[in-house]
Amino acid sequence: MMNSRLGLTTLATTGLLLASSTIYSATVTPSEVMGTYADIAQAGYQDALQTARNLKVSVQTLIAEPSEQSLEDARTAWKSARIPYQQTEVYRFGNAIVDDWEGKVNAWPLDEGLIDYVDSSYGADSEINHLYTANIIANPSVTINGQAIDANVITPDLLSSQLHEAGGIESNVATGYHAIEFLLWGQDLNGSDAGAGSRPFTDYDVNNCSNGHCDRRAQYLSAVTDLLIDDLEYMASAWASGGEARTALTSAGANAGLAAMLTGMGSLSYGELAGERMQLGLMLHDPEEEHDCFADNTSASHYYDGVGIQNVYNGIYKRVDGSIVSGPSLKELLAATDESLATELGEDLQTSVDALKVLLESQLNGQAYDQLIAEGNTDGNDMVQSAIDTLVYQTRNIERAVVALGVAGIEFEGSDSLDDPSSVFQ
């Protein structure tokens, strides 16, 4: 069966003593492929960490010298920080350590009203039309989930430990990339029309403060950015040599490692991206049912998600500084077993990246994701649906790859007896 063919390939490799990783050899081993996978994760999270540190610098400048320019610079730094992070999302599915951690940095939707002021036009009319005032920035002491929280000083520890409910049963959604996004852009009040959030820089200007509590808003922004850096530091080191994520992967064995890689690719393509993040919003016609909803950066985020899937398959990652991390790839491993499938899957991934690029270019040309999914925007809807379709399509070949590589779950052996308990009633 498949496993023994793989075994033969491994024997052949050791026999031939192939060493160079720059030659795309047809005879790579699963453990080499997993090594590349881990190396790319490490580089990706390191890049995410570095760009988060850059973001911190621009945030400090915004707080020290609030202006149109310093706010714009901080926003640009945030968007830049998304580029490497989104490419690491493929690691979330298939690695429990990443999945369990992810909610801290990328949780969505946000508890906007918990963090800061929100516009009363959101939410249907209530009898008393009032600004939502039970937010941490406005209140040194606030009741959350029935408990009084002392938020006199807003620190990373307050956000991570006091707001976070134990046991994963209820999590605060007041930290991570989208919390920073909300603090830099504010709510997008344009619905399906052009324009992102338009929070004024004076929300940080203690000498000319708009919307109150500028000092506390600055504290929150600073604390939540520090927290993101802490969280990314943890994950970058988890993928270093000896780190828990890399160790978990290598100690799980070849089968489980390849399963993790393919699960990541398939789950992100199909369930998460094509499903939850794109199809659902399109189906529900809610313009803000999009992840980077304040910054109108969703198309870019989806694009880099797609690139991340491709990185894992090709075993190639282009770092923020332009250098390349590469090594024996899943594509080569698959080609040794089924060359035409390997080629086909490679083409599918490029097709989806291209379709997502159309959305990215639309964003750069002024038509953002929320406009594309708006009710009545047939062309925009079609563009998004096409991208969804390519992601769905590639999933089929990812599944075929799972079978070809023999990493499907352990099948139950049917017995030869007439009363086979594993037979299926018809």
Binding site: Y132, T143, G275
Partner: protein, 520 residues
């Protein structure tokens, strides 16, 4: 998929035969297998209760092939045909780890798989308080027990008792007041006591638990301690609770196989009911009924007292009561959820009902997707179905009369909308009926036609994986049983005879029985 050979099922004769023939068959089978069973050597356990589990005549009446397959087995020397595939064709055979309950039914086609995944996204979604930009996701509360379905149905499985100082969340206390002659909500606190609320709103309070010990003594002298919980409300934020209000503790059950359970024909469920115990076997299963909006009533089958007639009904009630989310049905249209007029703050709050997205904070499109998801979570396959220890445990299960209520096998109706759920042989180990379980388990709170001592027979399929999926979980309606043996020993009322059989078992037999349960 194995191809079917056109061979007759070799097993128990059909119920067409007279009872005498069945008894003869059992004796002959025993002699042939050469096994000394507990029923012939253990004189203290009395009557073999397995004789009372004949297939009711109304179940697939006239179809002898099917009735032959559904008749309770009497051959414990080997596994039954189809027994491993306890969820029918859609049984998942790939994941027996923490994801054991989270797989889609294996029968799902690729297009339906996307619908399943959209439903999964909604099942996992953390709902946020209004007002929020994400209008498709807002409307939480103001009072709630969890903010996502996954919050209570942890990893698509059971809830858990609070761990190290947490407050109760996936264990909820429903409030039942008989003030008006019918069981209804508390006048101030509504239908459920909520330990969480949106920012700025005080939660209804906290739940305290205290335990007393109960003991069961086996005939071999072993004493087994059980812990009986008592619940009390603390830090009540909206005044006194009504003096007639009962607290009904409910732990979230697992959500696999629900579409299959819904697909058993109502007549076939009712065929097992015997409210007056006409057959004198001590078991008197009764149906519960749900009164629906348009004046009809439908057979209840979901929830701890079988009060809900469909998965969709269970879901919209859970969205409303556990999460404060309204939907399109009139009874559940208040966007403030389970908030009474006595809790004045609710009226002043924003809510998440936006007409352009559909009626209710969770409009039909959302409810449809969640329902599809919860219809189609796969049942995990049996493990070690041919292991002699487990077969011995299976025999003990049957001989103790457990199968009278934990009916092993059903075949779903052909008349069901979704192809994948039609005409499936399933092994849920439940009759979906209400049974009086005795005073120790009673909550003294009715629901629909269910009394304060009755509970629905819990499905046992998948139960052996519950602690793999979530090590913190526990068993029975309120999680009071830490182990499966504890759960068995809590049985009383109609199950008293069966309990007596278990108390008669040797340590080795108890171990085999538990092994059987763990293989489900």
């Amino acid at each position: 998929m194995n191809s079917m050979t056109r061979l007759e099922y070799v097993g128990t004769r059909s119920a067409r035969h007279t009872p005498l023939n069945i008894v003869l068959f059992i004796v002959v089978a025993l002699v042939l297998t050469g096994r000394a069973s507990s029923q012939t050597t253990d004189s203290t356990s009395g009557k073999n209760l397995q004789d009372d589990t004949a297939l009711p005549s109304a179940v697939w009446e006239g179809d002898e092939r099917i009735r032959g397959i559904l008749a309770p087995t009497t051959d414990f020397s080997r596994a039954e045909k189809f027994e491993l595939m306890q969820g029918g064709a859609g049984t998942q055979k790939t994941n027996f780890d923490r994801n054991a309950y989270s797989q889609e039914t294996a029968a799902l086609n690729f297009e339906h798989l996307q619908t399943f995944k959209l439903g999964n996204a909604l099942f996992n979604k953390l709902w946020v308080a209004s007002p929020a930009s994400t209008q498709a996701s807002d409307g939480l509360g103001p009072f709630y027990s969890a903010r996502a379905c996954q919050g209570c149905h942890i990893k698509d499985g059971r809830g858990q008792l609070p761990v190290s100082g947490e407050k109760t969340a996936s264990l909820v206390l429903q409030l039942k007041n008989e003030g008006n002659g019918n069981w209804g909500p508390d006048p101030v606190y509504g239908g459920q006591f909520h330990t969480s609320a949106v920012p700025g709103v005080k939660a209804e309070g906290l739940v305290g638990m205290a335990h007393t010990s109960l003991f069961r003594t086996f005939n071999d002298g072993t004493i087994h301690e059980l812990h009986k919980p008592a619940y009390h409300l603390q830090q009540l934020a909206y005044g006194e609770i009504h003096s007639l209000t009962r607290l009904s503790p409910r732990l979230a059950p697992a959500v696999h196989g629900l579409g299959l359970l819904e697909s058993i024909a109502a007549d076939h469920v009712l065929a097992y009911a015997d409210p007056d115990d006409s057959n004198g076997d001590g078991i008197s299963g009764r149906p519960n009924w749900q009164r629906l909006e348009y004046g009809h009533r439908a057979l209840g089958r979901f929830g701890h007292k079988a009060a809900m007639s469909s998965v969709r009904e269970q879901n919209v009630h859970a969205l409303f009561t556990d999460m404060g989310l309204s939907s399109s049905s009139d009874a559940l249209s208040n966007p403030q959820g389970d908030c009474t007029s006595a809790q004045a703050i609710c009226a002043s709050l924003a809510h998440g009902d936006q007409a352009r997205l559909g009626q209710g904070e969770a409009p039909d499109k959302v409810v449809d997707l969640i329902t599809f998801y919860t219809h189609n979570l796969a049942v995990p396959a049996r493990r070690n179905v041919s292991d002699p220890q487990i077969l011995a445990g299976k025999q003990l299960f049957y001989n103790s009369g457990c199968a009278s209520c934990h009916v092993p096998k059903h075949i779903t109706s052909r008349d069901v909308e979704q192809d994948e759920l039609q005409y499936q042989l399933i092994w849920p180990y439940t009759d979906l009926l209400l049974h009086d379980m005795g005073p120790d388990l009673a909550d003294h709170a009715g629901e629909g036609d269910a009394t304060g001592t009755e509970w629905r027979t819990a499905p046992l399929w998948g139960i052996g994986l519950a602690k793999t999926v979530n090590p913190n979980t526990s068993f029975l309606h309120d999680g009071r049983a830490s182990t499966l043996l504890d759960a068995v020993l809590w049985h009383g009322g109609e199950a008293q005879n069966s309990l007596n059989h278990v108390l008669d078992m040797s340590k080795d037999e108890r171990s085999k029985l538990v092994s059987f349960l763990e293989s489900l």
